[in-house]
Symmetry: C2
Subunit: 392 residues, 2 copies
C-alpha cells in the first residue's frame, strides 16, 4: 500500500515545507524555515526511526553505542531524507547523534539534548509498559530552579535545585538536602536534563518510597568558571586535568561547596541544617568529588553516594587516612557510604579495588554492581536506589 | 614571536588531547574524549575567534547573519583545526553555527545554545563596557524555575517561571505577573536561555527601573504537546500552520492559558490576581498569541506587549471588532498596548499596517520602531523597555 501511494502523500507525513509568510492571510509570524523532518519517531513496538535531511551528503550514520554497533549506516531516499529504524529497543533514555560525512551532529528535529561542555548528543526516550524510574507520570510534581550564588574569588556560581511536591505550599516544613554532582564536561543541567532526578524523586515520593528532599546540583568545575568570569585564559584551565591542577580543582570545588553553596542553600531554602540531614553524591568525576568532599569534611555529610567512581588507595592514604584509622568513628558518622558501578564500566576495576580497600579496612559501606557501563542509564537507577535509603 | 614557537607550544593553548585514564595516578574519572578546541574565544577588543576541529572536512564556514556575510569561510591549519576571527563586533549576544561540508552544526565546544525545535545554534556574548541590559552583574538575582502543570486533554504542560530577588524571603509579599510567549519552534526555555529575561529583570529591579514581578514563560504550542503525549501523529500537527488548524492552535493556546496556566500560577505563587496586575507579551508567533489572548479575554490582562508581530485588519474585524467598536472602553481597560518592530524585520510592513489600523480606530497604544530585524537582540531590548512600564 505504501508503495502505491503518490510521492506527495507518502512524504507529507514526514516532511513540511514551510510556506512563506502571507500577509493578511494569517497573522502568525513565521520566517521561512524548513523543510523539516520528524525525528525521532518511536513506534508502539519500541522501534525508533531516525531521520535527517541532507540531500547532498554522501554518508549519514547513526551514532549511539546503545544501538548495537557504534555507527549504523542510514539510507537516503529520493527526497534526500536519510533514515534508519532500529529496535525494538529495551525501554530507556538513549543518547544518540548523527555522523554526516564524518561530522557528528545533534538531531536538529529533536529538542531533547544532553547538556555537556564538549560533545553534542540528542536523547530519545523509549517508554516501558511498567513506567521506568524516570517516567513522567500523573503524580504531584516538584519544581527545578536555576539559581545564581556568590561563589569563589568574586565569581557568580550557577546551580540547579529540585524542591519536592508541596514545597511551596507547606511553608513551614523543613527538608533534608542531597547535593548531587555530575561528571567531567557535564554541566549543572545534566542531572536534570539527562539524569531526570526531578521525575525520579516525584515518582518515589508519590509511591512513599523516598522521603521528600531538596536536591542541589552544582556545576562541578568552579576553576573553569572563575577563569571564564575573570578573563583568565580558559585553555590553561582545560589543560589541567592531572597532577597539581587536578588537586587544586578538587580543593576549589570542596571549598566552594562548604564555604559558599551550603550556606547559600541554607539561607534561601527551608533546610534542616545538620549532617544527618545532608547527603552528597555524584557520578564519574562528581563521584570522586563526592568522596573527597565528604571525607575531607566529616562534620558536613552523613550520607555519601559514589556512582561509577572511586578514590585510589594512594589518595586514601595520603589525604583521608582518618577514615580508616579511627574506623569506629567513621562507621558511627556515616549512615550511608554507597558505591555502585556497572561491570562493563571502564572504571569497574579501580572501583572494585576501592570496595576491596573499604572492606579490608572495615569501613562500612553498601555496594551495588550492575550490568552496563559508564552511562546515565545506570546513574538514573543508582539515584533511584539511593534516594530510597537517604534520611531514614 | 608566535611564528617562532614550537608547534606544540603554539597549539597547547588551544587543543587538549585527553590522556586515557591512569588507575592509581588520579582518581578523576574521565573517559577518553577529545581532542578539544577552545571556541568561541572573545578578545578584549571584541573580536571573536571560532574554532572547529575537523581534519578531514573539505570546507567549514561560520554562519550567523549578524557577522556580515551569511557564511564566512574558515581556514584549516596543519592540525585540522578550522578557525576564523571576526570583529571587533558590536556588543550583543549573537547566534551562530558552523556549516561543515554543507552540514549545519552547533559549536561542540560551547554550552551556550539556542533552544529551538528545528534549528541548532550556539550563542556568543560580546560584553560591553557599559553593561548591556542582559549582562550578568553583581546585583541581587532572582531565580528561574521549571514547572509541570495540568494542561489540556490530560496532558502535562511545561512552563518556566522567573521570580524576582527576595521572592523566597519576603514570604508575605504578593507580586504582579507577566506572561511571556516565545515564537514559532521556540520552546519554553527560549525567553530564559536566549531572551535572558531573568538577568534583564534583575538589573532593572536593582536599578529601581522596574517593579518586582513574576514572569511566566509557557510553551507556545500545546497542540503539539497534546499530540506527543497522547500518541497522536506528530506530523499532522506540524503540517497545520495555516487555516483551520492555525486557528485551532491559537484557540487551544488561549484556552490553556486562561483555564489552566493562570489558575496554576495563582495557586502556586504569591500573585496579585486581577487584570491590573497581569501582563501578557510575546515575540513573533508569541506576539500574535499575545494579541489574540488579550483581545479575546479583556477581563484578564491590562498590559499587552507585542514584539515583532501584529494582527491583520481582516482578523481584527472578524474576531476582535469589540476592541475598536467601543474604543473608549478599550482605552480605559488597556493600561498599555505596546507594539515594537525593527525596520529590517520581515514583518515590518504588516506590523506598521497594524499600527496604522490602531491609530485610525483610535485605540491607544505605544509603538517603538527600531533598527534591526526579527531578532532576539531586538527582543531583549523590547523586554527591557516594556518591563519598565508595567504595573506602574
Amino acid at each position: 500500500m505504501m508503495i502505491n501511494m503518490p510521492l506527495f502523500m507518502k512524504y507529507s507525513f514526514f516532511i513540511l515545507l514551510l510556506v512563506s509568510f502571507v500577509p493578511g492571510k494569517s497573522s502568525q509570524a513565521q520566517p521561512p524555515r524548513g523543510p523539516f523532518v520528524i525525528s525521532p519517531q518511536v513506534s508502539a513496538d519500541r522501534s525508533v526511526t531516525f531521520r535527517y535531511l541532507a540531500p547532498s551528503a554522501r554518508e549519514v550514520k547513526l551514532g549511539g553505542s546503545q544501538f548495537g554497533a557504534s555507527q549504523l549506516p542510514m539510507q537516503k531516499d529520493t527526497l534526500g531524507i536519510w533514515s534508519i529504524t532500529v529496535g525494538p529497543l529495551k525501554p530507556d533514555i538513549y543518547p544518540y547523534s548523527f555522523t554526516v560525512d564524518g561530522i557528528t551532529v545533534m538531531d536538529p528535529a529533536n529538542v531533547a539534548y544532553f547538556p555537556n561542555e564538549r560533545f553534542k548528543a540528542s536523547l530519545v526516550d523509549i517508554p516501558a509498559e511498567i513506567p521506568m524510574v524516570h517516567a513522567l507520570q500523573s503524580v504531584p510534581h516538584g519544581t527545578v530552579t536555576y539559581e545564581y550564588y556568590p561563589s569563589l574569588e568574586g565569581s557568580t556560581g550557577s546551580v540547579v535545585v529540585y524542591t519536592p511536591p508541596g514545597y511551596a505550599k507547606n511553608s513551614k516544613e523543613k527538608y533534608p538536602v542531597f547535593y548531587l554532582i555530575s561528571g567531567t564536561t557535564d554541566t549543572e543541567e545534566t542531572f536534570f536534563k539527562v539524569g531526570k532526578v526531578n521525575l525520579i524523586l516525584d515518582n518515589l515520593i508519590a509511591a512513599g518510597k523516598a522521603n521528600p528532599m531538596i536536591i542541589v546540583m552544582p556545576y562541578g568545575n568552579p576553576m573553569a568558571r572563575i577563569a571564564e568570569q575573570t578573563g583568565q585564559p580558559k585553555p590553561a584551565d582545560l589543560l589541567s586535568r592531572e597532577g597539581e591542577d587536578a588537586e587544586r580543582r578538587a580543593r576549589l570545588f570542596e571549598k566552594d561547596m562548604v564555604s559558599n553553596l551550603i550556606p547559600y542553600i541554607a539561607k534561601n531554602y527551608r533546610t534542616i541544617e545538620d549532617r544527618d540531614h545532608r547527603a552528597i553524591g555524584g557520578f564519574s568525576r562528581g563521584g570522586g568529588q563526592t568522596l573527597r568532599t565528604a571525607f575531607g569534611n566529616m562534620d558536613q555529610f552523613s550520607w555519601v553516594c559514589s556512582y561509577s567512581s572511586y578514590l585510589s588507595s594512594e589518595e586514601m592514604e595520603k589525604r583521608y587516612s582518618h577514615i580508616y584509622r579511627d574506623v569506629n568513628k567513621t562507621n558511627q558518622q556515616l549512615r550511608l557510604l554507597w558505591v555502585s558501578v556497572g561491570n562493563e564500566d571502564f572504571l569497574y576495576k579501580p572501583t572494585t579495588e576501592f570496595l576491596d580497600f573499604l572492606r579490608t579496612k572495615g569501613v562500612n559501606h553498601k555496594s551495588l554492581i550492575t550490568g552496563g557501563g559508564h552511562t546515565w542509564m545506570n546513574v538514573r537507577n543508582y539515584v533511584s536506589e539511593t534516594a530510597q535509603l537517604l534520611f531514614k
